[in-house]
């Protein structure tokens, strides 16, 4: 009797101690440890285990103590309401492992877990008061376990929420940051940091197609996983990277395709997270959004770069246009007995036309017209070259064939073979009224005579810059009273209408034959340009238009 009394006191003491410990903590593990270890010590039980349910009827092994004859099952089916006749025999697997007593953990008449104890080391059967003692312990711990479980759930919800907030924060930050830079490399680097920090991953690859989503290339790589061989393999099978559910090579975890308005632009391919955790649905949502932000930023970068290139080209053209304009004569010189007008309309591309009227003496003038191959800045510079050469040579040499030959050598030396100049130069002597000229492959100018003749000025030689050391011929004509000379570039004759019909030489000739007698050179030039516009819309789309017209007054 004395012994039974003593035992009861011990049991009570341990229950009191247990209840105090249970109330002091919200850690599930600590509570479960108490529930297992206190009776194990008190009753000399060698093994025990706890299964706890999450939401459904499946309980998972939470903690076990001691050695078992067979491995405990990881999960266990426990109905909410145990049948009235349930007993340990319901759990044969656990019985095999060496567990003897099953006790339900109940709250609100529902079972949310199960505590199992093994046999006593002494080999004696459990007495009824011992069973009651064990059940009391479990009952006592039930509210604490329930609280701890709820607390853990709440903590998880809170942590999930914090993670979500952090994700939003990251998206917000990266969205703003990516808009600040227009360099694709910067965009990718910033994206990489956000991705690595948020997803805890340090293995990933960004694949990007061109503007049509074809010819994909690897544009950013992080981590050793992505060897050249693997990248090659991914690029060769890029069409498999268009959907989210992809058969990726082993050890790659995830493919996030990137689209802009249903057009595939690239893909983000991820290796495993550094902590080995799987990618959750929430992670995938985040990655999709982040990848969208990335592709939009990269697309902006590309558009911006395109625009930049266009702007640079415009600037270059504007400079070329300035150079060209500066090389053309400003005012027409006044020559007694003659009247002249020159006109140049540069094209948008800046074609490299050139004309000049250079006084040599009071009665001698050089008239020249030229058309440089190519367009834009290179053409403008070559014109500049020609002009400089001509202005030096005009003082050194009298003979036009020599001047032309020297210019040819100069241009040949200073340019590659595919660069050349069609060039026409004439000396007008206003005392003798003669015109001596050399035509180096330029559209032949026309001399219209009052008697109706039209002479083609085509004597000369090869275009400038094709072959060094060649000679040129010259020819001399009389410039009679009333005669009209017109020099022009192929921008005039090659101006096309919508049917690709060029304006052609015959229209130039017809226009002058009809008009040169009664109109001033300025009116002639202006009206010829009008005729060109009515033929070809805007003929300066492709090439410059240059016309120089000289008339001897009658």
């Amino acid at each position: 009797m004395e012994k039974a009394h003593h035992q009861l006191k011990l049991e009570l003491d341990s229950l009191t101690e247990l209840s105090q410990t249970l109330n002091a903590t919200l850690e599930t593990d600590a509570i479960i440890n108490q529930v297992l270890l206190v009776p194990m010590g008190r009753l000399m039980i060698s093994r025990a285990a706890v299964y706890l349910k999450k939401d459904d009827d499946t309980a998972t092994l939470s903690t076990s103590k001691g050695r078992f004859r067979a491995d405990l099952p990881h999960t266990l089916e426990i109905p909410k309401h145990l049948p009235a006749d349930w007993e340990m025999a319901h759990f044969p697997e656990l019985k095999q492992s060496g567990l003897e007593i099953a006790l339900p953990v109940m709250m609100d008449k529902q079972v949310f877990g199960m505590v199992f104890y093994g046999a006593k080391l002494t080999g004696q059967a459990f007495e009824s008061h011992e069973r009651r003692y064990l059940q009391t312990i479990v009952n006592l711990a039930a509210p604490a376990m329930q609280n701890a479980r709820r607390y853990a759930q709440l903590k998880k919800v809170n942590a999930d929420l914090d993670r979500k907030i952090q994700e939003l924060h990251t998206l917000f930050e990266i969205g703003g940051e990516l808009n600040k830079t227009f360099e694709a490399d910067d965009v990718l680097k910033r994206f990489a940091f956000a991705l690595m920090g948020q997803m805890f991953v340090n293995q990933f690859l960004v694949i990007l197609g061109d503007e049509n989503g074809t010819r994909p290339q690897a544009v950013y790589k992080q981590g050793r996983l992505f060897t050249d061989t693997l990248i090659q393999q991914l690029l060769e099978n890029a069409s498999t990277l268009h959907g989210a559910e992809q058969k990726l090579p082993a050890h790659l975890s995830l493919c996030v395709p990137m689209y802009i308005q249903q057009n595939w632009k690239g893909a983000l391919i991820l290796g495993p997270k550094m902590n080995g955790a799987p990618y959750t649905d929430s992670d995938k949502d985040f990655l999709t959004t982040l990848a969208n932000v990335l592709i939009a930023a990269l697309e902006n970068t590309r558009l911006f770069q395109d625009k930049l290139v266009r702007m640079r080209m415009e600037e270059e053209l504007a400079t070329a246009r300035q150079i060209q304009a500066r090389l053309l004569p400003g005012d027409m010189p006044r020559i007694a007995g003659y009247e002249m007008h020159g006109l140049n309309i540069p094209s948008k591309q800046v074609g490299g036309d050139y004309f000049d009227i250079i006084p040599i003496t009071d009665t001698e003038y050089l008239l020249t017209i030229a058309d440089v191959s190519g367009k834009g800045m290179p053409a403008a510079l070559l014109v500049s070259n020609l002009q400089a050469g001509l202005h030096i040579l005009k003082n050194e040499k009298d003979d036009l064939t020599e001047i032309t030959a020297r210019l040819n050598d100069l241009i040949y030396q200073n340019t590659s073979v595919e660069k050349y100049i069609t060039f026409f130069i004439a000396r007008l002597n206003t005392a003798t009224h003669t015109l001596t000229y050399v035509n180096a492959g330029h559209n032949p100018p026309y001399l219209f005579r009052t008697d109706g003749a039209c002479l083609e000025l085509d004597k000369g030689g090869l275009i400038l810059g094709m072959m060094p050391g060649i000679g040129y011929e010259s020819a001399t004509l009389d410039f009679n009273a009333g005669d009209c000379l017109v020099l022009f570039t192929d921008g005039v004759t090659e101006a096309m209408d919508e049917n690709e019909t060029p304006f052609d030489e015959f229209r130039v000739i017809r226009f002058f034959e009809e008009n040169f007698r009664k109109k001033s050179t300025e009116v002639l030039n202006t009206q010829l340009v009008e005729a060109l516009y009515s033929h070809a819309g805007d003929p300066t789309e492709d090439d410059d238009i240059t016309i120089l017209t000289v008339k001897r007054l009658s």
């Binding site: 924060h169 990251t170 930050e173 990266i174 910033r190 940091f193 956000a194 920090g197």
Partner: protein, 119 residues
């Protein structure tokens, strides 16, 4: 806008980087550069001390991720110390404590480096 600064102190073969201010997507490249410089000098025992770090975003954490593999392959480590509660919360949220050692102060981190190199 927000300032960020990295200061470096070498202590034997351990380098300590002191972070100041805001480490976010904007300033992350500067922290990256500091780590790159250390790697270039083959200094792979690194303590990142954050007592003066006011804020860190995921992008800031991303910098650590980009280097850790290479540094550990070279038998080094990045150890973290002196985090404010606010900064630690971000590290904790994104799972860093399971892969990075975090110490209350530099001395503790330094001792750990020295202990492992002595053994």
């Amino acid at each position: 806008m927000s300032g960020f600064e990295v200061r470096r102190h070498d202590n034997g073969d351990v380098s300590i980087l002191h972070l100041h201010g805001f480490l976010d997507a904007h300033t992350a490249p500067r922290f990256e550069e500091a780590l790159q410089n250390l790697l270039r000098e083959e200094r792979v025992k690194i303590i990142v001390s954050m007592s003066e770090l006011d804020y860190i975003s995921s992008a800031g954490l991303g910098v650590f991720m980009g280097f850790i593999e290479e540094i550990r392959e070279k038998k080094g480590d990045i150890k973290l110390s002196n985090m404010s509660e606010k900064v630690f919360k971000v590290f904790d949220l994104l799972g860093f404590p399971c892969l990075y050692e975090i110490y209350d102060d530099e001395t503790a981190a330094l001792e750990k480096f020295n202990a492992s190199s002595a053994s």
